[in-house]
Structure formats: C-alpha cells, structure tokens
Amino acid sequence: MSPTMFPLSRRGFLTGGALTVSFALAPKAFAQLAGGGEGGAGPAVVAPDLKGSLKSSPWLDAWIRIDADGQATVFTGKVELGQGIRTALLQVAAEELDIPPATVTLVTADTDRTPDEGLTAGSHSMQDSGTAIQNAAANVRMLLAAEAAKIWDLPAGQVGTGGDGRLHAPGGRTLSYGEVAARLSLHVQAMPDAPLRRPSDYRTLGRALPRVDIPAKLTGGAAYLHDMRLPGMLHARVVRGPSAGTGLQSPDLDTVARMPGVVKIVWQGGFLAVVAERQWTAIQALRHLQRATYARTTLPPLPADGSGDAVAATLKALPARDIPIMDTSDPAGPAVHSVKARYTRPWISHGSIGPSCAIAQYVDGTMTVWTHSQGTFDVRRVVAELVGLPPEKVHAIHAEGAGCYGQNGADDVAADAAVIAKALPGRPIRLQWMREQEFGWEPLGPGMMTELEAELGADNRIVSWRHAVWSNPHNNRPVGAGGVLAGNEADPPFPAPEGKPIPMPEGDGSRNSNPLYSFANTHVVYHFLKDMPARVSALRSLGAHLNVFSIESMLDELAAAAGIDPLAIRLDHMRDERAREVMQAAADRFGWPTRVKGDGRRGCGMAFARYKNLGAYCAVAMEVEIDRETGRTMVHRAVAAVDCGQPANPDGVRNQIEGALVQSLSWTGHEAVRFAADRRASFDWSSYPILRFDDVPGSVEVVVMDRPGAPFLGTAEAAQGPSAAALANAIADATGVRLRDMPLSPDRLKAALGPV
C-alpha cells in the first residue's frame, strides 16, 4: 500500500497537538485507530507488532477453535449490521484455514465469548477483525501443518492443505484437522509473520458467496433480536418527552396502574417505563401517559428552519474551538479564477426501519442484555455503571437489529431495558421504542457547514485552497452511564460527558476535510463546536458526507469557471495511482467522454474520495434529468468504482456501495430533520420523508477493483460523500444552477431555476 500513498511528509498535517503531529508524520503510525475508530472505550493494545485486532487479543484460541470433527468455530468482536460482515469474515477464516466455508461457525460479539474489538463502525471491521482472523487462521494452519509433520516425521515444508479439512503429505497420506488439532493447544500467542495463502490459490476469498444470513430474512426465520421470545417475557415501553432535551410533566400514572395487564410502573428519578404482560397493553399505557404536557430542558437554541442560512446561523452562534487540520505553503502563480462558497448539511436521522429494541433479564445478581448496539462491550460498561453492578456481572450479547448506519437508539434502549429488568428481577423484559421515539430521541447526524475558497492559476492548477468546517462532535458513543438517556434521568443523574473531536487522521467533523488531491497553499481548519443544539452522534461517514460534498462541488465550480473537464481537473491534481485508477474506471464504465452534456434538462456529474484518506477509494458518476416544472431530479443511471483492497466478497462490496449510493441520494436530495421552537418536529415518515421507489435511479452499476492480496480497506461508508457530490455536480451540469445547501430538494431546485 505504501508505494501509492500520498507523500505526507511534505504536507504538514497539524491536528492540534504535538502527539498527533508526530502521529501523522510517522509512516508506521499511519494506521487507523483500533476498535472501530469512532470512540467507544475500545480494547487496550497489548501486542503492537501483530496485525488488526490481534494487537489487543493475541491468543489464537480467542479467535479460532477446532473440534475433533474438524469443525471450526471462529469468534469476532464485530457484529452483523446488514453489511454482510458475517459472511465476509467467514470467508476470510475458511480461506486462511483452507477449509470449506460450511465447516466454519462464526460467533459475533458476546462479552462472555468473543474478543473485545470495540465498535463495529468506521468501515473498520475488515481491517480490524478480518485482518485478525486472517492472521490467526494462518497461524493455526501453520501449527497444524507443523504438528502433522511431527506425526509423519517429515520436514514441515512437505505438509500441505487441500481445502478439504485435511493435511496432506507426499504419497497421498492425510490427517484430518480434527485429529491433529486434538494434539495441539491453540492457547498460544499469534506470530506476526505466519505465511498467508497466495491470492492465486484462493478458493473462498474473493468469491461472491451467498450471504449466510439472507435465507432466514426472506422466510420469517428468527433473524433479529426483535424476534426473540424468552419464557415469561414481559413487554415494556419507556416514557419520555417527545424529543431528546424535553421532559414530560405529571403523567397520569394512577390510571395506567389500574389498567388490566399492566405489571409494573418503573419510576426512578426522571426515568419512567411501563411493563405489561402483552405488548399492546404496554403501548396503550404509553399512549395514555404521553398525553401529559412537556417542557424543553436545556441545550442551545435549535435552528429556526431547515434552510442553509438557519443551519449556518445556528452553528456560528456556538462557541468554537479551532483545530488546524492542514497548512501548506508553496510557491504558486497568480490566480485567474477564484470561487468562494458555503455548503451546508442539515441534521439527518439514521432512520432505521425498525425502531430500536433490547431484551434484558436480571437473575441471581447477573444482568443479561441482548442488544443490537454497535458496541456490545460498551453496552456492558454502560449498563454496569447505570444499574450498579460490576462489569463481570453484566453479560451483553449482540443480536441483529434493523440497519442502524451509526448510533441510533440501540445503546439507549439497551440501557432502558436493563434499568427495567433490575427493577423487575427474574423475568425477561423486551423493550422496543415506538416510531416517534426513535425519531425523537436517537442521536441525529449533526448539522454542518463549510466555507471554501479556491483559486485556479493560468495553467489550470489550483494555487490556493481554503476549507473551514463547523461541526458538533460526531462521536458521542456511550462508554458509561452518562452517555445514555436513562443515565441522564437517574437520581442522581450521570452527567452527559462533554463531546470531544476524533483526532485526525480519521477525524469526525473534520473527516475528509484534508483533500487527497495535491493543491498548493492548502489551509484547512475545523471549528469544533462542543455545545449541541440537538442530540447528535455518529451517522455513516461522519463529516465526510459534507466535506467531500464541499471539496468535490468546489472542484466542479472551478472547472466550470475555467471551462475544464471535471475528470481532467481531478486527475491533474491527483498523484495517488489507485485514486486515479478508480476515477478512470468509473469514467470508462460510465462513458464519460461521450456523456450527455448539460442542456438545461439533462446532465452528468462525477465525484471522488478516498474515505478518511486511509480507507476505500470510491468514484461515482451519474446522469440526471430535471423536471423544470417541479424541480424533481431523476437519476437515470449511476456508476461507482471502488477499491477496497482485496474484496472478501465482491457481491457484498457491490451491495454495500449500491446501498450507500442510494442512501446518500436520499440524505442529499431529500432529508432534513424538522424543528419546532422547543423540540424536534420529525416524528414519522411523512414529516421525515426518505427516498421511495419512484425516486431511485434507473440503474446503479458498481465496478469492484481487483486488488489480489492487498490489505482490507473497508467499504461501507466510501460512497456517501462521492454520491452526494456527484448528484450536486450533475444537477449543476444539467441546469447551470449550483445547489450548495442540502437537501437538494425539488422545491429548492425549482426556486433556484425560477419561472419555467
């Protein structure tokens, strides 16, 4: 990877402290943060020379066990979120153990059984867990071969594997993995240099294996936490004000206490929940309690409306801490073209289709919590502090939920369920939030703004580039009781911790604000805003959505000013070969040179980013048609190219990129959380509309770059920024109108286009 990496040493990354300066400048340390990279408590590094999460869990038997029948059980601290990681990790294990995938069972995050790999977030799972499992499996295969060699009294080099779960010696002798494994202890530390299988020999990795979780999801199998039914299970609903930062006043508990089927009202400090034998009873009780009036509690003022000016005014009114991100000074010629622009993104909901759910049961002093949080081990820490148990008395187990795309209500609802279970020992408590609760209480994706100013010289080289970004922290993941709503409601309350920025190179609001392109005189600053008008935390791609949108919009604005082709201006400023190849691959498949040229109605746009400048490379091109009567944008076709290193499962990669592209079109083209003076005002799918079938593209095509054996780079978030910018650029190409405030909605475009 290093030969194609941008030469950082001449760029002077400044991320706000001596430690991070040296971090950014030292190539060896130029690795992503461990454990998901988006906060969370994360595991401690104990073996820095090992790869991926082996750094924190170096023992082979923490990852892989092989039983006497040769069945392998593989353990991961990452979780299935619908991204297909279960299948991808299973393929990695099968490949490097060299056994059929059907003989591998994968166990996902469980505080009693699996390594702590921190959060399943930040497109880290393949780097963290995929790399760990790959290297652990290579170690195990090496040990098995060595043991078999000992049995046969052969040099180790003469023992091979055949993909059939057997060790092979010359002359046709074989031994099963099971019988050899029975003679071995895998409670040994991984070696850093166990040889990996050659990509040309791959049997499982890089193949489009069908996902193992899909059949149950198509047939009503028990696929989700929501589907668990435990003996004696009760149904709970938690009661709060309509949105985070509000509280109910004097709810009518007396009436609810008399409702038949209500088992208990749990009222502790500011925490209120109702528990019933039947789910419908709990919902009716909730509806009665919700009739109480509410009041807004703390927090700075909410935006006046969804306009870009309101987003900007709200953010600029907050005290900022300025964090320098990048500052270079180069000799450059005079500017011929200069463009200055502001870009904004409103607050965006994760919008999980299934409201968050958890089950908790408190028996004999031990709390068991089934959770679809991205941080199973953090759920244990949060619950332990919240209900006053030692962490070893809290067992958190991941079970799948609906897609979350960041921190939705999953962590809160798990904590809620545990508080209720503690008050009602013995019986399992199933708690699901209602639709309006998910919209009202989950942490939103933060509203953001950027101001960019760029200059182009006579030779069409960019001679100066300034990028300022204003954002709340995107990393408010709970690691203790203060991070969840129930903790803030406890008596005495656990205070919410102050928000902190994620340092570069990953960044949060600053993520991808440092362009991968080589521009002269680049100045990037992050105006970090710790005070949050609305409750916010991580949403897929964090600040990269707006930062990439801004950079890639500005490049097209410059290109338009100078009459340069958008692909040419990008390639002219890009030295990273893999980045160039991805852009070229997308352009070739799209037919960029012969594309429809902007004619007032139709047009094309493209954009590129390397996620975090460390992860997957992704370029997107799309063709749009505008209905000038309504302002509606129809995406006729979209093409994405992605380089995520060795793809574990190319169809899984395509599925993720297709989904990310469509989701980004929804965010960028349609979505904004609405606010009233004292609360959020988006509570359902009519007050928070998202893309439906009539607005999805005519076609989406994904080119997956073949990078045999290259390190895993992750995939899930790579397309969010490029898709957003490609849409804006295509609209600008089609109409000549540049929309800079998300959402690029039909009413805004119609207003900008003026009378037909």
Partner: protein
C-alpha cells in the same frame, strides 16, 4: 373475548382484545416473525401481509376486523428448505442488506405478481412505492421482482413445451 383468524391456511382461535393490531397477534401470539413493526402508521410497509389476497398493513388492522378472512404472511410463501419462487429470486439477487423491510417487500411484490404476472418496470416501481428500505437495497429488490417474473415465464414455457 375470542377471535378466530385464518393464517397461512390454519385457523387460530385467540383470546385477545379485538382492537389489538393484527401485527402483534401474528408476532406475539402466533410467533410468526415475518411481519415487522416499523412505524405503526401504515407509512413504511414492514408489516405488510395479505388479507384475502390483497396487501395490507397489519400494524393498522385490528384483529377483530379480520375474523374469518384469509391472512397470508411471508411464512406462507415458503421456507428456507422450500422457498417460494419470489423468495428464490430474492436469494439469487442477494436482495437484502439488514433485511428488516424484506418480508414486507416480498408480500407487497407477491400481491402484484398474483394480480399481474407480467408487470413492466413502471408498474413494479409504482406498486412498491408504499414500502420503505433504508439500506438502499431498492435496485436489488427491483431486480429480484423482475427475476421472479422471468422465472415464472420460464417455468410456464417449459410446461407448455412438454408433449
């Protein structure tokens, strides 16, 4: 009071408040996982089932209103061992990410195919408009429905070709 409903061809007599939405009866009493709670408002389609052959939001339908009517859930289309044709098409296209919406998508699409075995692209999109997917799996869902149409035609052609 008791209510008798017919689900996937089997009668069930239940002691339940007739105002209870069908969704909770399917999930909690009959232990069928397919229909999902998404919004409780008929806005997302995750709870879609068939009532007398027509797609319906089970989250908005009181169980008392469907006594004696034919209810079909995704479990009635097939199983992992013997998936129905539309389920096979979704499997082939790998048309799911988180999959929470998918049972509703299948029931919505099946209702179209039951009524119109050869819908065009515009008809498919218009029909699927009521159902939300957040993962952005729309392109694959559309491909899977088109595949199911083609599979059915292939089966029909093979049957017609038989002597």
């Amino acid at each position: 009071m008791t209510v008798t409903i017919t689900v996937n061809g089997t009668d069930h007599t239940l002691d339940v408040d007739p105002a209870t939405p069908l969704l909770y009866v399917l999930r909690d009493d009959l232990e069928l996982n397919g229909a999902k709670y998404g919004c409780g408002l008929g806005q997302c389609g995750a709870c879609t089932v068939h009532i007398d052959g027509k797609p319906a939001f089970s989250c908005l339908t009181p169980v008392g209103a469907v006594a004696g009517r034919r209810i079909r859930t995704v479990e009635g289309l097939g199983s992992t061992q013997a998936p129905g044709l539309l389920q096979q098409a979704f499997e082939t296209e790998q048309a799911a990410q988180c999959g929470y919406c998918i049972a509703g998508m299948l029931m919505r699409a099946q209702a179209l195919l039951d009524r119109n075995p050869d819908p065009d692209e515009a008809q498919i999109r218009a029909h699927m408009q009521t159902n939300l997917c957040r993962c952005g799996t729309h392109m694959r869902i559309l491909r899977a429905i088109r595949r199911a149409v083609a599979m059915r035609k292939g089966i029909q052609a093979a049957q017609e070709a038989r002597p």
